[in-house]
Amino acid sequence: MSSTKTARLLLLINVLQSTSRPLTAEEIRQVVGGYAEGRESFQRAFERDKDALRTMGVPLDMSDVPGLAEPRVGYRILDRDLALADPDLDHDEREALHLAAAAVNAGEHGRLALMKLGAGVSGSDRAVEIPADAGVAMVFAAVIERRRLRFSYNRVDRTVLPYRMQFSRGRWYLIGFDEGRGEIRNYRIGRIEGSITTGDEPAAFDPPEEPVAGVTMSPWSLHEDPEPVEAEVWFDPAVRVAVRADLRGDGIVVRDDDDGLVVRLPVTYHEGFRSWILSYLDRAEVLGPPGLRAQMVDWLTKVANRG
């Protein structure tokens, strides 16, 4: 990091904020100073500075400089763009945010947010973390501004109305209306292929009328199936705690004793169910219904007979 660059950017912010009319690049060069000689190197440096300001959340307003014979573009920072509408947090609310950000390690972005909100920050050595890369931030911006998103997912180009986001098992998901498919879909943001494009138009859609369901993390119900099957499964007592953690309150416990744990649960996605059961190897057994049990035996038999 360079103190010269820091000082120059701060001066640039100050000059563009206090000016009464847009300033041309040449005027900026004279007032701010510290830029390299030569027109081209100045322009490169100025472009970099503009990008740096944008990344910080300081948007530049570009408009024609008035009163010039030949129209020239000028730059300034408008207070209405710069200022965060004051959320008017009370002392205990700032303190609560501070503690929350320390407890989950909200990262550098979280620290900056707290500083801007007037709350203190402190080092957090908590290992739990909610990571958010540029793609996640972009999706969030589109969610709050209600802009369409375009991206490729599973090798299909999509146009999505972004409704909400969910963080589960260490990953961010987007839940939105896929215009091509005509239905609400879930996307793991880390699996989006290539770049994400945000639509130009804000408030491009109305928020959904009904609350939108979250992403399920249960393999047996990853896909909607019109007719769920109620499975009954036995588990070895050795894996009882792990199974209950997987269930997360889903399903009904029929029995839980020294002979094992027996649960009933609604299955809407057979492949996911099979995978989940197989992850317990011979410590799990599908007891019923007969159709589901036969599917499992069939799969295992195919594998066993392959050799």
Binding site: D88, L112, K116, G120, S122, V128, V136, Q166, R171
Partner: protein, 324 residues
């Protein structure tokens, strides 16, 4: 906590927040309070403030210089002629603070709590209902088991765990000197010294069946506790030939190398620590998976076939009429 090298943008935003906060106090602020609030060292505060008061010194008249500031013994005074507009949150910052707060309020928030009120106010500034837009599913302290372990770590006590090892598919009582908790991919782990083998081990919290804090003191925690998984170089490698649909394997397992063949099939090299773990992967992929290396001894079934037969035995031993 290790201090990161700040990039220019972060540094500027921190400096502006600091100046604006101090400027709100006409009688100045103790430097020690500034340090605590912004997680800085006193010499950093001095350096940053000295940088700020020079801004515009080369080009502006003195009266136009945006920042005035001076140190008066232990106190810092700041007056701003410019740079006084609070900066808005970038989307990444808004999300970070909403997510952190959202993780702590949980699914059934106490609507009178300061955190919930802060969340609602932030939401209204961003123009959203936070509860409908961001949902964070995270137990920030590892739940009841996590809290017990944290207490044991703080008290420096040894623990006894009844633990199901997923890799070996075995339940054992283990004595552990606990070092630290960490979270990876949304799961909580304990890292510590397994007393019997005198080696570092990781234990996933949701596989701990019983936990007992012993009276015995734990050996001192080493200074450099690893808080993530590292793939050991000496672990054995497995090479698999998988159908195209099994692309998920490359995301769900520690893959060392993956290649796509012309026919779309994947050749994947994995670090395999335990057999049970490989059996699961193969059974989940199904009959179309092949083990390229290591090959089983001549005349013996490979890992996949052997595992399928073993699981099938469970179904066949039941007298419910299922036949081959």
């Amino acid at each position: 906590m290790a201090r990161q090298v700040l990039d220019t943008g972060t540094r500027i935003q921190r400096l502006l927040a600091l100046l604006q906060w101090v400027a709100q106090h006409p009688d100045g602020v103790l430097v020690t309070d500034v340090c605590q609030r912004y997680d800085m060292r006193p010499e950093e505060v001095t350096r940053e403030v000295e940088l700020a008061i020079m801004i515009g010194g080369d080009t502006l008249d003195y009266s136009e210089m945006p920042v005035e500031g001076y140190f008066d013994g232990p106190r810092l005074h700041v007056h701003l002629n410019g740079l006084d507009a609070p900066m808005r949150l970038t989307p990444a910052e808004g999300l970070a603070v909403l997510a952190a707060a959202g993780a702590l309020v949980g699914p059934e928030p106490d609507r009178s709590s300061p955190l919930w009120r802060a969340l609602v106010k932030l939401g209204s500034v961003l123009g959203i209902d936070p509860a409908e837009v961001v949902d964070v599913d995270l137990e920030p302290d590892g739940g009841a088991v996590g809290r017990s372990i944290t207490e044991a770590i703080e008290a420096g006590r040894r623990m006894r765990l009844r633990y199901w090892s997923y890799g070996r598919d075995a339940v054992q009582d283990r004595e552990v000197d606990p070092w630290a908790l960490f979270n990876a991919e949304g799961q909580w782990y304990l890292t510590g010294r397994a007393v019997e083998v005198d080696q570092a081990r990781n234990f996933r919290l949701d596989r701990i069946q019983k936990l007992e804090v012993l009276d015995e003191a734990a050996l001192p925690t080493p200074s450099d506790v690893p808080r993530s998984f590292a793939i050991a170089d000496n672990s054995s490698r497995v090479v698999l030939d998988l159908p195209a649909e099994a692309r998920w394997v490359t995301e769900a397992f520690p893959v060392v190398a993956a290649e796509v063949n012309d026919d779309g099939r994947l050749v994947v090299t994995l670090v395999a620590t335990e057999t049970s773990w490989l059996e699961r992967l193969l059974l989940q992929v199904g009959p179309d998976a092949k083990v390229i290396a290591p090959r089983p001894p001549a005349g013996e079934p490979d890992v996949l076939v052997a595992a399928a037969r073993r699981v099938l035995d469970r179904y066949r031993s039941e007298s419910d009429g299922i036949s081959e």
